[in-house]
């Protein structure tokens, strides 16, 4: 492989993308969509994992009391909670407090949803001393009279990890199928370019250009499409996700994970994927062509 060959292939590859402008843009657009979908699945999964971790490290829980308990009954429950050995601290969280907070979040919508009364039960926020005694403490709290339920982290954790598994599986299928789609898109775009340059290819064969000389520009074309898609989708995904986290974080207490590193690695994955799809797409399309046309010089 000499410098001449590299220069020639790059120049002709760029020319290919240019000649086939509309198709190149269309295939970049489709690939960008594929990559954004893939990236979204990845980010969702990362967020769920991080949520899962924070749930697992929680030493707090909420004890909900039965509907319609009296002030007296609440004090009795408080008394009993104080006597549970593993309790570090507890705090009464009234039905009104809960609905107040909810009203803050929802604004006017709250009135529409709840015409009268607070829909929330009376509750206690509790912190534990020893996380190891989690299960036992939950049991003790549950056995207290008038306690309806205890927010159980294992429940949440299970739901989160189920969701995460679902998203990982779905994400993997998405990545696989979108990968195949991307490859075909690239291959078809390049096939069109090949078709529009068939006279040149025939001439190349007749004057004795090697197959690599014939192939290389189309592989470069695939690589350009792949890399452009990777760059564009990374930028869009970064921007969209940041906005999403900011906006959502303002509405509910959602702490989306965000760091430059995540996007650098996403960019990295996309670039590698784009590169592979570009090369494979290019090889597939020209391979078929070289085979179908045999060694003939006809266009």
């Amino acid at each position: 492989m000499n410098l001449q060959f590299v220069k020639y292939s790059l120049k002709e590859g760029i020319k290919n993308v240019w000649i086939n402008g509309i198709m190149s843009m269309a295939s970049i657009a489709v690939m960008v969509c594929c990559m954004i979908l893939t990236g979204s699945a990845l980010l969702l999964s990362l967020n769920l994992s991080s949520a899962l971790k924070s749930v697992e490290h929680q030493n707090s829980m909420t004890v909900f009391l039965k509907k319609g308990v009296t002030k007296d009954q609440i004090s009795k429950v408080e008394e009993k909670i104080r006597n549970v050995p593993n309790i570090l601290k507890y705090e009464y969280y009234s039905s009104e407090q809960a609905s107040e907070k909810y009203r803050e979040v929802l604004g006017g919508l709250y009135e529409v949803l709840h015409e009268s009364g607070s829909p929330f039960p009376e509750a206690f926020h509790i912190s534990m001393k020893d996380l190891g005694l989690y299960e036992k403490t939950v049991e003790e709290l549950k056995s207290i009279e008038n306690v309806d339920s205890v927010s159980d982290r294992s429940d949440t954790a299970k739901r989160l990890s189920d969701l995460n598994r679902l998203i990982s599986t779905a994400g993997m299928w998405t990545v696989c199928s979108l990968g195949i789609v991307s490859m075909f898109i690239i291959a078809n775009t390049i096939k069109l370019t090949i078709h529009s340059r068939r006279v040149e290819i025939g001439i190349m064969k007749s004057v004795g250009a090697t197959n690599w000389f014939i192939r290389a520009p189309f592989i470069v074309e695939g690589i350009i499409i792949g890399i452009a898609s990777a760059l564009i989708s990374s930028v869009i995904l970064n921007f969209a996700y940041k906005t999403f986290v900011d906006v959502l974080g303002g509405i509910i207490s959602f702490h989306g994970i965000y760091s430059k590193n995540i996007f650098l690695s996403i960019l990295g994955y996309f670039l590698i994927a784009g590169l592979i799809f570009g090369v494979v797409g290019g090889l597939i399309s020209i391979r078929r062509y070289l085979k179908r046309e045999g060694v003939s010089f006809e266009g």
Partner: protein
Amino acid sequence: MIEFKNVVKNYETGTRALDGLNLIIPDGQFLFIVGASGSGKSTLLKIFTKEEEPSSGKVIVNGLDITTMKKRKIPYYRRSLGIVFQDFRLIEKMTVFENVAFAMHVIGAHPREVSSRVDYVLNLVDLRDKSSRKVRELSGGEKQRVGLARALVNNPGIIIADEPTGNIDPAMSFDIVNLLSSINECGTTVIMVTHDITLVKMFNFRVVEISHGRLINDNKKVVKIE
């Protein structure tokens, strides 16, 4: 020397295009191949350029049997041939110069060699002053001269032309064959297929006639002494 030995070509459609053809072409010869349409002339050339494989028989070029040649060697073999097409096969949107230079670029020639060599061959075909014209603006005769320049640019030992005058008027046709003959005088073997008998008669070269895939006439038969 080029030697066709009992070459048979059956196409998948069942057509027998060549039927045991034998032909010897010494180095530096000018050879006209004539014959009715469908007699197998193009097939003969396609086997020679490795566009088609013979069903049986051998084709020996400078001592090498090209029918058993490895696929990846084909491009290098083709560099020893200069191929001229009836329909010119030029890139219309490119200039005359670019069309000829293209043939050098795609076999990895160094850019420094390209310019002077292209100028040289364009001079040979008398097109140096049209070097920067787009091919689509040229007449048929001029286009074929570009085709000829391109075939010559990589300095092949053999020129192969399948009806190179088929798409141009008679006066221009004579010019083209004249050019081929002056190239031939410099030692290049020229094989030209044509059905223009008047044109053939204007030159005193070897003429072979093919009919139904066999050689039926040869005015200067070459016999190999084994």
